[in-house]
């Protein structure tokens, strides 16, 4: 064991410090540019996902499912090996930026979508009633409020993005992992090479994941944030977004899974006040823990009616459920 980490091997590694620094800079640069792409794609497609145009929603679905269900390495290889066949050769640096940016854009759009879903429905209606255009509504009213929900998982995604830049080592990307591999391969001093790489990756990712935890805690103090009617959907999403591993920290997981049920973890139960029953908003007093304002304290909203009621009734009738039968009874009663 000591032989693997012998001092002279460390010396050989540190003698290459300019290369280490360059590789580290490469990783940072690829990460930063990919992060920009991922954020843009994430917000654009996150908003598309809640659009009222079906085509945009479908487009988002296709994008997200494609990106999430095919290995990142395969996507990188497509840019690396298939695109040149079409006469389009991209430098491995840009392959990294594009592929990793697009990959995490998919995950981020899911985060943004569930963030938007967490905003109280009344906010959309209020903005509309005040004459905001859809774009203004999103950028000025909804997204700023959704931010508090969005930010923690976004920070986790950023850390994942940095980690995933390591796949570029397999296409000679010249970044940190590639340096570690080639140094280890040249000298067979595997131990120091990989430990040094681990330390450097940790140095970037750890602050990001700490930021996620910090933002999540801070979010917990703003309890009114998570009271939109999409609370339950959001709760489910927090787990659903997990395909990208570590998307949830334990705290968020507990919160998501409990979804308003009192839990063992101190303070968790206050995070997501349950929406009392379907179709009813929480009263003002319940939300903010203060006395009810002057207006009627219990605003009730009729549960959403299915658009095609007749069609639904017909389906139900065909299935032998209430719709068909009840109509029959009514007619019989009329004849009497």
């Amino acid at each position: 064991m000591t032989e693997i980490f012998a001092p002279y091997k460390w010396e050989a590694l540190f003698a290459r410090w300019p290369d280490i620094l360059a590789a580290f800079g490469m990783t940072a640069a690829i990460s930063a540019l990919a992060l920009v792409i991922a954020l843009v794609l994430g917000f654009v497609f996150g908003v598309f996902a809640v659009s009222r145009f079906r085509i945009l929603r479908a487009l988002t679905r296709v994008y997200v499912e494609t990106v999430q269900n095919i290995p990142l390495l395969l996507q990188v290889f497509v840019l690396y090996a298939v695109f040149p066949l079409l006469g389009l050769t991209i430098a491995s640096f840009w392959i990294g930026v594009i592929a990793i940016g697009a990959y995490h854009g998919g995950y981020m759009s899911e985060v943004v979508r569930s963030g938007i879903g967490s905003v109280h429905r009344g906010q959309f209606e209020a903005a509309k009633s005040q004459g905001f255009s859809p774009v203004q509504t999103m950028t000025l009213i909804i997204l700023p409020q959704a931010m508090r929900i969005i930010l923690p998982p976004l920070a986790v995604q950023a850390a994942n993005l940095v980690k995933n830049t390591s796949v570029l080592a397999l296409i000679a990307g010249g970044e940190l992992m590639y340096f570690a591999n080639s140094f280890a391969g040249d000298t067979s001093y595997y131990g120091p090479a990989y430990v040094a790489a681990a330390v450097l990756y940790f140095a970037i990712c750890f602050p990001l994941s700490r930021a996620a935890v910090y933002l999540e805690r801070r979010m917990g103090t703003h309890r009114h944030v998570a009271t939109g009617d999409a609370t339950e959907e959001l709760a489910a999403d927090a787990v659903e977004v997990t395909p990208g591993t570590h998307d949830i920290t334990g705290h968020a997981a507990a919160q998501a899974m409990a979804a308003g049920v009192t839990t063992m973890v101190e303070g968790t139960s206050t995070l997501v006040p349950p929406v009392a029953d379907k179709g009813r908003y929480l009263t003002y007093a319940e939300l903010y823990g203060i006395d009810a304002p002057a207006w009627p304290d219990r605003r009730t909203v009729a549960p959403r009616t299915p658009r095609n009621r007749r069609g639904l009734a017909r389906v139900r009738g065909a299935m032998g459920r209430t719709g068909g039968r009840r109509r029959g009874k009514g007619r019989r009663g009329g004849r009497k």
């Binding site: 269900n69 595997y190 990756y201 787990v239 570590h246 997981a253 507990a254 899974m257 009192t262």
Partner: protein, 218 residues
Amino acid sequence: MSDIAALLTWTNIRFLLEGLGLTLIISALAIACSIVLGAVISIMRGSSSRLLRGFAIAYVELFKNTPLLLWIMFTFFVAQLPPLPAAVLAFTLFTAASVAEIVRGGLASVPAGQYEAARSQGFSAPQMYLYIILPQALRNMVPALLSQFVTTIKDTSYLWGAMALQELMGRGMILMNSYNSTVQIFAIFGLMALIYFVVCFTLSQIVRAYQRRLKGAR
């Protein structure tokens, strides 16, 4: 067209599907092992001993903030294990950190009343977890664990580049040595993407359906 016909023979398809088999075996083994390790770590995380708690936190932070590829290299080159055990070990170590978080979330999702009720009925701690808490917690953990499985399946694609293990990705690359016209390379990439997509998409749809059912049950 004949290029494609030459490629899409039963032998080649089977060659790829065998690769998929290895992918699934490695992922399943890794997930099974990491559930055990993850459970142990999350129990340590909740223990009253400061040392154990510190170790668990350090473990999770270490693996959460370093790339998987690094650990694959580590088990293969530094620990000098043969490819298959190295792969399973690397994935287990790495995935256990996520699983530990999932288990912690799952345990916390069981209402406190259940713990109290179990204790009041005289269950010992292991009995309580085994008969009362875990069955309920597991129900909540299944979607997250399945998502983790999907992630692991996707990540096994590193193994060909790192240690020449012939999983699905590797098999595809091997095919590319003998079928290297443009159309054939397109087809091989398409085929690999399709296989990965079908497997992962099916699993994530199962996750979604299960989640809807959970929500209904609630």
